[in-house]
């Protein structure tokens, strides 16, 4: 079971944050097909948010084929986003950690690291399109 959290200052609507957190957990292999998502009551009791916000998020997950309701029980994960890429994640993470250590040794602070990453990410995406 995963737990949701909300960032009030993110500018992302609460329902979108829940959708993203589920997708994120699916990508990282924290959630698998067949896992139950927290019930609406569990989520609203923890986050003090409107139940419709949770229902809207779960509806969107259903719509994208990632979850399905089982009446009277709850909402369950029906697909995965990690598939074969999950195996590659371990080594990639190691490489990234080594790279981060190198960047820090070179004197980059967190903001510069993030900016550099975002920038490279964008140029690589542009190259992929071109």
């Amino acid at each position: 079971m995963i737990e949701f959290h909300l960032d009030a200052r993110s500018g992302v609507s609460p329902y979108q944050q829940i959708v993203r957190q589920v997708r994120h957990a699916l990508r990282l292999g924290l959630l698998h097909e067949g896992d139950q998502l927290p019930t609406v009551k569990e989520v609203v009791e923890r986050l003090a948010i409107n139940p419709n916000t949770v229902l809207k998020a779960y509806k969107e997950l259903e719509h994208s084929g990632l979850a399905a309701p089982r009446p009277g029980i709850g909402t369950f994960v029906t697909a995965t986003l990690s598939d074969s890429s999950l195996a590659a994640q371990g080594p990639l993470r190691q490489e990234l950690l080594r790279w981060l250590a190198k960047a820090r040794r070179a004197g980059l602070d967190e903001e510069s690291i993030e900016a550099l990453f975002q920038d490279s990410f964008r140029s690589s995406a542009e190259e992929a399109i071109a």
Partner: protein, 297 residues
């Protein structure tokens, strides 16, 4: 769809002063409604009219399709927690539950004692020694154990510290999931209600400044900015809520049903607090404004 609260030109006067003026609203059931406005805007007056503690001076109000407090049945359908969560300080927690069971035909004893246990309250404790958060939770327990269809809470979190505030709203949301009750709650701070509400009514200076589904309000309000120049004109169907100009830039908040694609404008999304503040300052600036946007007339 049934209507939780329907008012038409609802007015309450004290002498010459109108505490609430020509308030027209149609609030659907199944919603959690935030009633927001500065102190003295008429929030408590509107809520007291809804539960029948006050009689209108003019106009009409119906709650769940009936006149407020028209009989025992109507009283049983609406739960009300007044400001400062009044309790009888000399009575114990258990006394309060007993009192609730005597005075309410649909009293749910299992629900009431279950919640008291969940809250970790000692039934023998005198309520005068409860913390603010515990009092609020007791008042919510009493209001929900009568199994109302509509729960009306006047400033339920105003006097609570941030933790008690969060705990109260958590409990309230759980109640909504369990019992499917409609809720109207007031606060002078929109930030208190932003996460829990899906419908908003803003009262300013005794009048409704704006009302509607929150997602809809957010989707139809835009902050626009552009380099200031002569001849910069807005289409007539854009409702301008707020406008400010410097010598170089024009900034405004407009209401428009469609996304704004005109490249002359930089368009930004508004958050709920900005939206409410824009309506508040507009209402304060022009109290004789014509029919406010978003109010069904």
């Amino acid at each position: 769809m049934t209507v939780a609260i329907e008012t038409a030109d609802l007015t309450k006067r004290y002498g010459r002063r109108a505490a609430l003026a020509e308030c027209t609203l149609s609030i659907p059931t199944g919603r959690i409604v935030g009633l927001v406005g500065p102190n003295g805007a008429g929030k408590t007056t509107l809520l007291h009219l809804a539960v029948g503690l006050l009689e209108p001076s003019a106009g009409s109000i119906e709650v769940l399709g009936h006149r407020p407090a028209e009989g025992p049945e109507q009283l049983a359908r609406v739960g009300f927690v007044a400001q400062n969560t009044p309790i009888y300080t000399g009575m114990s927690v258990a006394d309060h539950l007993r009192f609730g069971s005597w005075t309410n035909p649909n009293w749910d004893e299992a629900l009431a004692s279950g919640r008291i246990e969940l809250l970790g309250l000692d039934p023998k404790q005198k309520t005068g020694s409860l913390s603010g958060g515990q009092r609020a939770q007791l008042a919510l327990t009493l209001a929900i154990a009568k199994r109302p269809e509509l729960l009306i809470l006047d400033e339920p979190v105003a006097s609570l510290d941030p933790l008690a505030r969060r705990e109260f709203l958590q409990a309230l949301m759980a109640v909504v999931v369990d019992h499917g009750v409609s809720v109207v709650l007031s606060s002078h701070l929109v930030a208190d209600l932003e996460r829990v509400c899906d419908y908003l009514v803003v009262l300013v200076a005794s009048r409704v400044a704006v009302a509607g589904d929150i997602d809809e309000l957010l989707a139809t309000h835009h902050r626009l900015s552009a380099r200031r120049r002569d001849g910069l004109r807005l289409p007539s169907d854009w409702g301008v809520i707020e406008q400010s100009d410097t010598d170089r830039q024009s900034t405004m908040i407009v209401r428009h049903e469609e996304p704004i694609l005109d490249p002359a404008w930089t368009v930004e999304q508004l958050d709920l607090e900005d939206l409410v503040l824009a309506y508040m300052s507009r209402a304060r600036g022009d109290q004789n404004a014509p029919t406010p946007v978003g109010v069904r007339s």
